[in-house]
């Protein structure tokens, strides 16, 4: 509980109704899209940069943790108030402030929903490239904080490649613009450092993003494969041919079954794995690439190849992919999802390890992921009402990440480290590596009030049984 005086101070800044501190209402803000939850002491609904700055100033003065929160769709516990304090909700800041069709830029408030920006930009023939699967709900502010990805990041790059500048509020309540739309700005790239810092360095109150021209032609293809291994080999073969598609996604048999039952998108349910491939550009380019990719896929045991013939068909194929995790609810009500990344050529090895781990723990695992990037998404399916299984689920997830790291990979490709993976950071970074990151943290947030308990290992939290084996990546000749 916050002291009465602090709550009153917050109410003076944002208005009486915009501060929530009744125990019942706070429950709504207990979690994000991950497993672990914690109640905030208060929720503040900010409507402006002044609100955000004012709240952060009060928090700093009273040493109260501040955790920024958008749509709460994050998958790593980034928005969970693990040390209590203030959940600073910015979804009321949802204006698109400017779209400049000539410069191809937009300035948005952090609460703007990802897909809404692309829908509005489409009036000018433009779109915003990063497209997380949660894009119908997730916010640009959250995307910038997490450096989110999405299927089309294979070709277009992740959020950081599309953010030109930001208005940020630092831990002392000061407001700054970092970067802008000129390239090669003088000084350090603060914007680049702050994107993906998971709310631990600043609050983001405005984002200037690059928009791209909508390609004149888009072709979406689906191919079935006898197994995950053969599909993985096909992925490597496509890229090995010098083709970088706009998106290259894989779904395993478990996922395809759930998706097909839900969406009836025509996915082949007998397949061991399915690849969804998209290319875009001119009509000539998509024709040429579709033919080339089709040949590579069939040469690599791909079958039941088909191409979406209409925009509606394309939508349906993507609905299946983007709604896959929801569809998995048909199998079990809850999922636990990691997003480790491996070098693409290691996909067959890591996926067979993931399968073995699932079998060992007797937990169903559904893989639906960005194969072109080597970015896994193994969904461990379970029922949270069975409290005993939770520990098993966490252990299985941890072992899967372990397999990722042992194959030269990284802990997270797009979901962030947050709460759930902070204890594993020593697996890939040495003490000195983490020390350098800590210097950055201390510069921006010397009192440690911005989203505490995230990214860095927290010695006060329960020990993670495997975390003792440190420095693994370095042993594995990281350099």
């Amino acid at each position: 509980m916050l002291p009465r005086s602090v709550v009153e101070e917050l109410r003076t800044i944002v208005g009486r109704e915009a501060v929530i501190d009744s125990a019942n209402d706070l429950r709504i803000f207990e979690r994000d899209g991950s497993i672990e939850g914690a109640l905030p002491d208060a929720v503040v609904l900010a409507s402006s940069t002044e609100h955000v700055a004012g709240v952060i100033k009060v928090a700093a003065h009273n040493n109260i943790p501040v955790v920024l929160r958008g749509a709460g769709t994050g998958l790593s516990g980034g928005a969970v108030t693990i040390r209590g304090g203030i959940a600073l909700q910015v979804t009321r800041m949802r204006r698109i402030l400017n779209i400049d069709p000539v410069a191809q830029t937009a300035i948005v408030e952090p609460g703007v929903v990802n897909q809404e920006l692309s829908m509005v930009a489409a009036q000018h023939g433009l779109f915003y490239a990063p497209d997380p699967s949660s894009q119908k709900a997730c916010t640009i502010g959250g995307n910038a904080a997490e450096n989110s990805g999405g299927p089309h990041c294979l070709y277009y790059g992740v959020t950081t490649n599309h953010v030109l500048g930001m208005e940020v509020v630092l831990a002392d309540g000061s407001v700054h613009w970092v970067s802008g739309d000129a390239p090669d700005r003088v000084g350090l790239d603060l914007c680049g450092v702050l994107v993906g810092s998971e709310g631990t360095l600043c609050a983001i109150t405005k984002i200037k993003v690059r928009l791209l021209r909508i390609p004149p032609s888009i072709a979406t293809m689906l191919a079935a494969f006898p197994s995950i291994e053969t599909a993985s080999q096909a992925v490597s073969a496509v890229i090995g041919h010098g083709i970088v598609p706009a998106a290259l996604e894989m779904m395993d048999n478990v996922t395809v079954g759930a998706v097909e039952a839900h969406y009836h998108a025509g996915y082949p349910t007998d397949a061991g794995a399915v690849l969804l491939v998209e290319v875009d550009g001119t009509a000539e380019a998509t024709r040429e690439l579709t033919a080339a990719i089709g040949k590579v896929l069939t040469d690599n045991q791909g079958y039941a190849l088909r191409e979406a013939q209409t925009p509606a068909e394309r939508e349906l194929l993507w609905a299946g992919r983007k709604g896959a995790i929801g569809a998995l609810g048909r199998i079990k009500p809850n999922y636990y999802l990691h997003d480790g990344v491996v070098p693409r050529s290691r996909l067959p090895q890591v996926l067979s390890a993931v399968g073995e781990i699932g079998e060992h723990y007797k937990l169903p695992v559904a893989n639906v992921f960005h194969a072109g990037d080597g970015n896994l998404h193994p969904n461990i399916l379970f029922d949270m009402r069975d409290r005993d299984v939770l520990h098993q689920v966490e252990s299985a997830g941890e072992e899967m990440l372990r397999a990722v790291v042992e194959l030269g990979g990284a802990l997270s490709g797009e979901h962030g480290i947050g709460l759930e993976k902070s204890a594993f950071m020593p697996w890939i970074y040495s003490e000195d590596d983490l020390g350098a990151m800590h210097r950055v943290k201390d510069v921006f947030d010397p009192k440690g009030t911005m989203n505490p308990g995230k990214i860095f290992p927290d010695p006060s939290r329960k020990s993670v049984h495997l975390a003792g084996r440190t420095g693994l990546a370095i042993e594995a000749k990281w350099w």
């Binding site: 003088v186 000084g187 914007c191 450092v193 993906g196 010098g242 001119t282 080597g374 962030g416 510069v443």
Partner: protein, 358 residues
């Protein structure tokens, strides 16, 4: 009094870190040197006690062809790296001016780029891992060897373009690219109107340069049929691709980089003194100016660039000229935050003192 600096050429990252730590603990000023191509960039170092060369750190650590990822030591030249990548039909899409002879570490520290930035972005976009020696002798890595990674802070962004003021880059990993299936270069004499027309084509050029004499050079890559159609529509003359190598060789003795929002760039270069020699990437928002006029023309152009939200940075000039105009122009509004970062990594200010804006 100018003294001759000690020259250190370590052959391993550990040795480099040790040399750096030794110098730093004696509060000696250290100037990191790669290919020496950008020594004119920045303010003249207030002191230079030790030159720390990276040129013996020149190995390809690992090139995983299937993953299209390469890790190199910082002192390798861009040309040596390209030669290695070319063996498997791959390349690093970086074609900086004042080539050849840049080292990878130098290119990352200075942020120098070239025409291909239009299609591929800068190393800021395809640098996926970095290892840096810090003044306290520690070696700190960030990122990794995977193409997509949000594990911890983005330390690549912290050091890219920081001119070695927070640490000395000793190794880097990149996402590399397949050589384009089709690659055609065309030229016109049509100036800005033609440049704008080419940039609006359904196939965006991989590179497009405009020159002060009105010449435009464009490079289209990708689908054979699409590129041929676009080039047919443009009606420009086909040019030999080797022209790009000669273009990247430009290295005036007195030059500046003007960076501005794309929409403001044309106005800025058209405002340069009559007869000025320049070339620009209008799709990126960067122009290079071979300065033949006096310092007041530089100051006037810089004022206009800064008013448009951009900057004019000197890349090389005689000492007195450089002192007159200053290397960087008006410091950014966030300078104090940058200085706090500087103090966190280099508390005694031994790295490149006086050279970078912070």
């Amino acid at each position: 009094m100018v003294t001759t600096p000690a020259v250190e050429k370590p052959s391993t990252a550990d040795e480099l870190a040790r040399k750096l730590q030794e110098a730093a603990s004696s509060k000696l000023a250290v100037v990191p040197v790669g290919g020496g191509k950008a020594r004119g960039m920045g303010g003249a170092p207030g002191r230079c006690d030790v030159e720390l060369h990276t040129t013996r750190l020149n190995r390809v650590i690992e090139h995983s062809q299937a993953d299209m990822v390469v890790s190199v030591e910082a002192g390798i030249t861009l040309e040596a790296l390209q030669e290695e990548l070319a063996k498997s039909g791959q390349f690093l899409p970086l074609d900086p001016f004042s080539s050849p002879g840049h080292t990878i570490g130098g290119l990352l520290a200075t942020g120098w780029t070239g025409p291909l930035r239009l299609r591929y972005g800068s190393p800021r976009d395809f640098l996926i891992g970095i290892r840096v020696a810090l003044p306290d002798g520690k070696l700190a890595s960030g990122g990794g060897r995977v193409v997509k990674n949000v594990s911890g802070y983005d330390m690549m962004k912290l050091h890219y373009g920081a001119l070695g003021s927070l640490g000395v880059i000793v190794a880097a990993s990149f996402k590399v690219f397949p050589k384009p299936l089709y690659d055609l270069t065309v030229t016109s004499e049509g100036g800005w109107d033609d440049a704008d027309r080419a940039l609006a084509m359904p196939v965006t050029p991989a590179a497009l340069e405009i020159f002060s004499d009105g010449r435009v050079l464009a490079r289209f890559t990708g689908s054979h049929d699409a590129v041929d159609r676009v080039i047919g529509d443009l009606g420009w003359t086909v040019e030999d691709r080797s022209i790009w190598g000669r273009h990247s060789g430009r290295s005036p003795a007195r030059w500046a980089r003007i960076a501005a929002p794309r929409t403001a760039l044309r106005g800025l270069v058209e405002g340069l003194p009559r007869g000025a020699g320049w070339w620009a990437s209008p799709g990126v928002g960067v122009a290079h100016w071979a300065i033949a006029s006096d310092s007041s023309s530089v100051m006037a152009t810089r004022a206009k660039a800064e008013a448009a939200g951009g900057a004019l940075v000197m890349l090389a000039a005689p000492d007195d000229f450089m002192r007159e105009v200053g290397a960087w122009g008006t410091p950014p509004a966030t300078l104090e935050i940058m200085r706090r970062l500087k103090r966190a990594f280099d508390p005694d200010g031994v790295l490149n003192p006086g050279r970078f804006v912070i």
